[in-house]
């Protein structure tokens, strides 16, 4: 894996097709057809290096961490902590002590809501979210509202599905304590102007959480540069294993947060009546963590950084442009969230066909797209629809995949007319 793709001489587009072979699942036919996997926004497929790392670790190095003084446990601990360091570098965090391993981005946001929110927010404090958010960045605030009486304000979208910035500035005030914002919409691909919004929020003293599930997988991220106070993402969307997520939080903020869950490894002393708690990040990692998940994620980060997040981003942009063009030639397609700067996600529907029927029929040809509300019902409510068809592109997709999608869409349409 030494080459970083190759340049197509004609139009200077980057080509990552040399990496497709790294993904064993893509070699397995589905319903006797080649798998055309267009659901990476839900979860990415895994390269050999990730699968083999997991396999080898269980076969040769496995042990529980942090408390054992024997060789295997010492080694496992070092590898787990090296994974933390790798994540810190990947996000350009100031220190690896700012990285907490969780089970998922969803848990990371719940941790912030419960621990930071539970301590710092009270009646009438305002949390601003947007209509672009995934349920993972909505429901935790509803749950927090029940115990604290916070007020949740939601930034509207314009007709394209972009953030209505005027509305954002209307909502933003001294009462705002937190802006919790997606780095990129999983339902539409839309990327909000996060830098502007972060600095506006900061100027009024609010903190900012960025839900990086679709952002960190698509482009290089520097939490220091964007000045996010919290940043979360999920390993399984970054070509890593399931059951591992990340919470980044600035040191001084993390230091002041009370524990979220209690148990082994997050304590200094325990009696039956009192506990004292360890420093971050361990304070937030109660119990045996997903050791192998963290180590698998570390391998995934090696994989993508070896290719280069810039290259991935460029390549995915190429696919997005091509897909948008090709689908745009079909006059019965309606797009949702059409914009130029997007994560590599196209959301659309076919006139007269329910998205679920589209999904089922495409699947007959091995074409795997997601249909429905994509855990982002407010986006659907905004457009007044029940769901969309969503094709999302990853480094292992090709223009041929898109051509096959187009064929499939044409078939669907022909069945229904």
């Amino acid at each position: 894996m030494n080459t970083v793709g190759s340049l197509n001489e004609e139009n200077h587009e980057i080509n990552l097709s040399c990496y497709i072979d790294s993904f064993p699942i893509l070699k397995n036919p589905v319903r006797d057809k080649r798998l055309v996997y267009l659901d990476t926004a839900a979860s990415a497929q895994k390269p050999d290096i990730v699968i083999n790392t997991i396999n080898d670790f269980y076969k040769t190095e496995y042990a529980n961490i942090h408390r054992g003084v024997y060789w295997l446990s010492e080694r496992a601990t070092v590898k787990y902590e090296m994974a933390r360091k790798k994540v810190a570098e990947f996000l350009d965090a100031a220190s690896e002590t700012e990285i907490v391993f969780t089970k998922s981005a969803t848990e990371s946001i719940n941790l912030v809501a419960s621990s930071w929110g539970g301590k710092n927010l009270s009646t009438n404090d305002e949390v601003i979210i947007t209509e672009l958010e995934h349920h993972a960045n909505i429901v935790p605030w509803h749950i927090l509202r029940e115990s604290t009486g916070i007020v949740i304000k939601s930034v509207r979208l314009d007709d394209n599905g972009c953030i209505d910035l005027n509305h954002f500035y209307e909502l933003l005030s001294e009462k705002t304590k937190l802006l919790s914002l997606t780095h990129a919409s999983n339902a539409l691909g839309i990327i909000p102007p996060i830098k502007e919004m972060i600095s506006a929020a900061h100027s009024l003293g609010a903190l900012v959480l960025i839900d990086g599930c679709q952002g960190a997988v698509h482009q290089p991220v520097s939490v220091q540069d964007m000045d996010a106070d919290f940043y979360v993402f999920s390993g399984h969307k970054l070509y890593g294993p399931t059951g591992i997520g990340v919470l980044y939080a600035k040191s001084n903020i993390l230091q002041d947060m009370p524990p979220y869950q209690g148990g082994g490894d997050m304590i200094v002393t325990v009696s039956t009546q009192e506990s004292t708690y360890a420093d971050p990040p361990l304070r937030f990692e109660a119990g045996t963590p997903n050791i192998v998940g963290a180590i698998g994620l570390s391998a995934a980060i090696d994989f993508v950084t070896n290719i280069g997040m810039h290259n991935i981003s460029n390549y995915e942009d190429t696919l997005l442009k091509y897909g948008r063009e090709k689908l745009g030639e079909l006059n019965y397609i309606k797009f949702y969230g059409d914009a130029s700067n997007k994560a590599s996600i196209i959301s659309f529907d076919i006139d007269g066909v329910h998205p679920h029927d589209v999904g089922t029929i495409l699947d007959q040809d091995g074409i795997s797209v997601r249909v429905g509300h994509h855990c982002a019902q407010p986006v659907m409510q905004h457009f007044g629809i029940a769901g969309t068809v969503r094709a999302s592109f990853a480094l292992y997709n090709t223009k041929e995949d898109i051509d096959l999608l187009i064929n499939g869409v044409e078939k669907v349409r022909s069945i229904f007319t």
């Binding site: 329910h354 998205p355 089922t360 029929i361 007959q364 029940a386």
Partner: protein
């Protein structure tokens, strides 16, 4: 295995595009509302039941071709049946589209029920099974509403 595209064609031609018994029922004496959280589809079943006989049945709602077709075929099948017969048919339909076991006793099916066999293809699509069964579950809820209390309408 049924090719789903065939299924789709038949369904679409026969029921999806022009569903039977679609719309409100003036003299309903019970109804129920169903919702499929997976796709946001909704359906309302209206019933007029007298002496345990389904005198009339109609439905309204939004949904995918499979749920519309299933609802349409269901209303055709159930009109005039007793609630007991309907409940038996639901069992059969459930076995047809949702249960793992090979269902062998369909040689005993009458022609009426056989029409529903076009929906058997969804069995392979656990997520879509709900689309096909939603109308039936909603029908069942409507009957139970009727049993529980006299409808006030």
């Amino acid at each position: 295995m049924l090719d789903l595209r065939e299924l789709y064609q038949e369904v679409i031609l026969d029921h999806g595009k022009s569903p039977r018994n679609f719309g409100q029922l003036e003299d309903k004496n019970t109804e129920a509302h169903g919702h499929n959280p997976l796709c946001g589809d909704t359906i309302t079943i209206y019933l007029h039941i007298t002496d345990e006989i389904i005198k009339d049945i109609r439905f309204e709602g939004k949904g995918c071709a499979i749920s519309l077709a299933s609802a349409s075929m269901m209303t055709e099948l159930l009109k005039g049946k007793t609630t007991k017969e309907a409940s038996k048919l639901f069992g059969k339909f459930h076995a047809l589209v949702a249960e793992d076991k090979e269902v062998n006793n369909f040689e005993t099916d009458n022609e009426e029920f056989e029409k529903l066999h076009v929906l058997a293809g969804v069995k392979e699509y656990p997520m879509r099974v709900k689309c096909a069964t939603l109308p039936w579950h909603t029908f069942k809820a409507a009957v139970e509403n009727n049993n529980g209390k006299v409808s006030t309408e």
